[in-house]
Symmetry: C2
Subunit: 168 residues, 2 copies
DNA sequence: GCTTGTTACTATGATTTTCATAGCAAATAT
DNA sequence: ATATTTGCTATGAAAATCATAGTAACAAGC
């Protein structure tokens, strides 16, 4: 079995170390990103993250063990599961949002444009990068956000899916 | 040389993937935590993270290459450097804060208590877990926060330092 | 009833990273 | 001259990761 290693967790009071022992891994975070984008199937996650099936399987198993993800049967015969965020998983959203804000601001050239833009349902206007709405100033919650992918980003994701489907 | 691998970065518009190619690693995040706690020396970072010197050295080198950390000479003879956050590094604070909030809330039993509590200078009251001040509601900025370590956490860190100094 | 397709993985062996342990260099302090 | 401090680098074993291939369990079409 694949352990991702996380035993500092029980030896420190530091919440950052505790959190990192659960999500301190690139694939894990990318999987969570996909789940937040409502991709629930193994295949979709594999295609969009580019990780090997073992990487995905190991991470999902650990995420489930850590109470962040739950499996749900969506088809009985053949038995098929989909992956969903638990309450603990949903609560991770602010981290993803902060990571997105930092990534958009500091890891891209301005002319590239945003991958996703959010509209704040509460006020009907652009939400910006958070954590507070750039239009109305209120704190952003996931359920009040409508995401729109930039055409370029949508094409990028479609291309990845097509490429994945093509060679199998 | 030690590459941490980060080339998805240039192939996707996704800011989360971009960010992860830079900070998607447990040691990297723990190093950043230490820098935010104003530990600037190699030794201190090594002692408090528990990583091997190569891990620290490789991560610091990459963080410097990625513009998140800068080295500063604090002693000429013998030549000694300390590590500081750049503007890009400082901008990462909201991610650490969000990670802390999630870790405190979901990765600890309530009776363990907080590792660090923040007072919000703007209103003089407890800041809570953010991103907005739990007392006055305003968004939290690092420069307006005064951190106080819980005695238990302070002792934990002192013990780690002593243990590190002891065996070398 | 046999081939093809779908989905979710598991198996395998090479490559790469990480870990534990030790050591070095360039000074200062004693 | 010897010990100590600080910031690393070297080495080899152990573990994780990667690319590639394959399996299982069924459904659907011919």
């Amino acid at each position: 079995m694949n352990k991702i290693k996380g035993n500092i967790a029980d030896q420190t009071l530091c919440p950052v170390a505790r959190a990192e022992s659960v999500v301190g891994d690139r694939w894990t975070v990318l999987i969570l990103r996909e789940l937040f984008m409502r991709m629930h199937r193994f295949e979709e996650i594999q295609a969009q993250t580019g990780a090997t099936p073992q990487m995905i399987a190991a991470r999902l198993k650990k995420l489930e063990a850590d109470g962040i993800v739950k499996r749900r049967v969506y088809n009985k015969r053949p038995l098929r599961h989909e992956y969903q965020l638990t309450e603990k998983g949903e609560a991770f959203y602010p981290v993803i949002l902060a990571l997105r804000a930092w990534g958009e601001t500091w890891c891209k050239s301005p002319k590239e444009g945003r991958a996703v833009t959010y509209t704040h349902l509460t006020c009907g206007k652009p939400a910006g990068l958070g954590p507070a709405c750039e239009s109305c100033g209120k704190p952003l919650h996931r359920e009040d956000l409508v995401a729109e992918q930039a055409p370029k980003y949508r094409r990028e994701r479609e291309a990845r899916w097509d490429a994945f489907k093509a060679n199998r």
